[in-house]
Each structure stands twice: as structure tokens, then as C-alpha cells.
Symmetry: C2
Subunit: 223 residues, 2 copies
Amino acid sequence: MASDHTRTAILNAAERLYADRGFGDVTLRDIVAAANVNLAAVNYHFGSKDELIAELFVTRSLATNRERLNELRNAEEAGGGRAGIDAIFRALVGPTLRGCLGPSSEGSTAARFMIRASIESVPPIRRIKNREVDHLRKFAAAMRRSLPGRAEADLYWALHFALAMAHHTIRERERLTKLSEGVCDLDDVQGIIERVVAVSAMALMGGEAKTKAPARVAARDAR
Amino acid sequence: MASDHTRTAILNAAERLYADRGFGDVTLRDIVAAANVNLAAVNYHFGSKDELIAELFVTRSLATNRERLNELRNAEEAGGGRAGIDAIFRALVGPTLRGCLGPSSEGSTAARFMIRASIESVPPIRRIKNREVDHLRKFAAAMRRSLPGRAEADLYWALHFALAMAHHTIRERERLTKLSEGVCDLDDVQGIIERVVAVSAMALMGGEAKTKAPARVAARDAR
DNA sequence: GATAGTTTCATACAACTGTTTGAAATGCAA
DNA sequence: TTGCATTTCAAACAGTTGTATGAAACTATC
């Protein structure tokens, strides 16, 4: 037990430094200097550098996943076991985008850390991300309940594209601002979420009316 | 001039090693060992490790960009100055997806290197990517010509989402296979391209008929 | 075949990395 | 206070990294 003071000081300093300068050029010595603790404290409290990074990422990651599942559960309860497809996508990408975008994310170390984690891909984080399959399957299941007739492949492709748009927007938000010369407002988080949700739903629906039968989205006029 | 033998041996070995094991844990010593050349040869021929990586990436990157612009030009000429929106997206994501996906990409070192470069983000590569704004603006211009009435923001968001889907598919292709338990066929490159193109077009069109007036895609029922 | 320029080589360099060690300090129970 | 366990600390360790050096080998020109 004890005071935990050193432990949390390390966690805070590490999160801030990694967020600001990336995993690539932050050493344990940088961290302990910022935390005002001894170099050996990291290995004493966490075992290794990788385990420190893993703990940082797992904490934030679990929080996001909890938020997602909360939103999903609420949507399904509101719909009597079946959530609308929009609500499902909103539960999937909303928490991540809200957490990492918008003016508040500039100040939040947690947000900047997660952005960094999505840009640089270090081994300990990759290992954790690979365990997220079960979590995503829950969203696939919700989609299946919501649209029983849909082809499995279309389901997963839509899920995949939703995550693609969300993560890419977080990763490349600066580039998008520069590319569009400020025309794309990265601070309008709710607008972005609805945009991603709408496109994801269209990816699944093939641009047809929401309640209609399956519509293939793929291979039309090849080239 | 001279034989260039050493130079190209380094380039080949480096590309293969980076493709296989990532930038993180391939050292210059690994490279020169695989290339059967002296350690000092890298600094002699390239100046530094970062310049070697940069040269590798620039070469492949320019090739892709050339291919993209070729396809775009062809599409615009075929349409008398105005390419169809599908053709524009196809020119944008086609070369990248064809290069990095499909059974052939397993064998191609170049493809595996570019996949690696899109997963790990090292400083020299990031610097080059940031100079790609001009290149992407050409596609924005083509979209503008194709659909003069469209709002600028919608244009850039669709462009952004197209790249998002393409790159995310490349980055996470293994995860998607595992997640979907093989239901998503990552070897059907043409099918994937058409899927991405269709969704991108829908992102821009808002699910309405292709020739209709602007349709906002964003903020409907917030939450 | 001597000369000048290029390329290769073995080796050293200097710095930095995460981790370990063993002793000192601290906190807490009896 | 005594004793015991936890925590901190300075120092060193062992290994790796990219880069620099200066001599040797080569190549082509005159």
C-alpha cells in the first residue's frame, strides 16, 4: 500500500512526457527527472519501462471501452433490446472522438497521450490493442441484432470503416486542418461524430432507406 | 557514379529488414550484415540512418503518387476535363490499396515496407508525409471540378474519409481478418477498392442520387 | 605505371539505453 | 526502542546505438 506518491508521480510525469514528445525520445531518465524521483523507482514500482507504458495505456483504454459499452447498453435498453444502427456507431466512435478531439483535448494530458498512442505504435501498446477483439465483437453482435438480415461481411466492413474514420481523424487532425486550410472544423466534435456515424450507416445501408432490405455496397462498374 | 553496387545492396537489405521487423528494432549493423557491406558504407553513401530511411520512403512514395495522378489524368481526359467522382476516388485509393493488399503484397518487399511505414511513424517519414499536402490538393481540385456546387468542407471530409478507409484497411488488415474470422476477404483487392470508393462517394453525396443537389451529411439528431 | 579520386574497411568513439545492486532511509507494529 | 518490511537512493553495469577516423584497396586518367 503505502503512500503511492512515487508511483503516481511517475505515472503522471510519464503520461505528460509521452503525450508531448512521443514514445520515441522519452527516456526513463527524463521521466524520473520530471517526477522528481529516483531512476530505480520505475523498475521497483512497475517492473520495466514497457509495463509502465502498458499500465498507462490500459487505464485509459479500459475507461474508453467502459464508456462505449455504457452507451451501447443504454441505446439497446431504450430500443427494447435493439439499438438503432446510428446509435450503435455513435456508441462506438463517440467516446474516442470526444476524448481526443475538441479544444479541451489540448489541455488534457490523457487525451494527448491517447492521440500519441494512436500515432506511434510501440510493442506494449500493440499487444494490448490485439486483445480488443472481444470488445469489438460486442458491437458486431449489436449490429447483428439491429439488422438481422445483413451479410456478415458488410457488418464487419462497416464496423471497420467506422473505426477507420474515427482513428484517422484523430491521427491526422493537424494535417486535415492544414490541408483544408481550416475549412474542416476539428473543434466541432459533435458534428464530426455525426458525420462519421452517418457515413458508417451509409456504408452498411448502401445509401438506401434505413429500413429497406440488404443492398450490396461493393463492386459495381469495375474501373 | 561507379558501380552503385554497395548503395543498392544497402537499399535492398534495408527495405527488406524494415519491412520484416519494423524500424524499431533494425540497426545499421543488421542492415550492413544483410547487405554484406561495411558499417561505414551507410554513412558514406547516405549521410545518416535517417537519410537512408527517407530515400527508401521517398522512392516508393513518389511512385504511388505518380500512379495516382496518372489515373486521375486519364479519368479527367476521358470525361472531357471532368472526371466522375467515383473515378477520382478510385485514382486516389486504388494505387495504394493495389500496392499494399492482396496475395502479391506478401511477396513484395516494397509493399511490406510501405505497410510498415504506415504503421510505425518515424521522424524522417513523418517529415516527408507532411509535404504531401500539395499532392492531395490536386484531388480536392478535381473533386471541385467534378461537383462545382459542393461545400468545401464536405469535399475535404470525403477526401479525408477515403484516405482513412484505405490506410486503416492496410494498417489493420490482419486484425480485420481475425475480427471477422475471415469473413472479410482481404485478398479481393478490387472488391475492397470499390467498397471504399462507394462509401467515399456516399460520404460526399449524402446517400442521394449521384446527380442531385448538395445534401448535408452532418448533424442530424444529436445523440 | 604513377597519380588523383573514389570507395571500402577495421576500429574506435562517445553517448545513451534500461536494468540491477546493495546499502541507506523510512514507516510501522510490538 | 527493537525489529521487520517497504521504499528510496547513488552508483554502476552491460549492452547497444549511430557516427567518425584514417589507413588501405581500388579505379580510371594521363
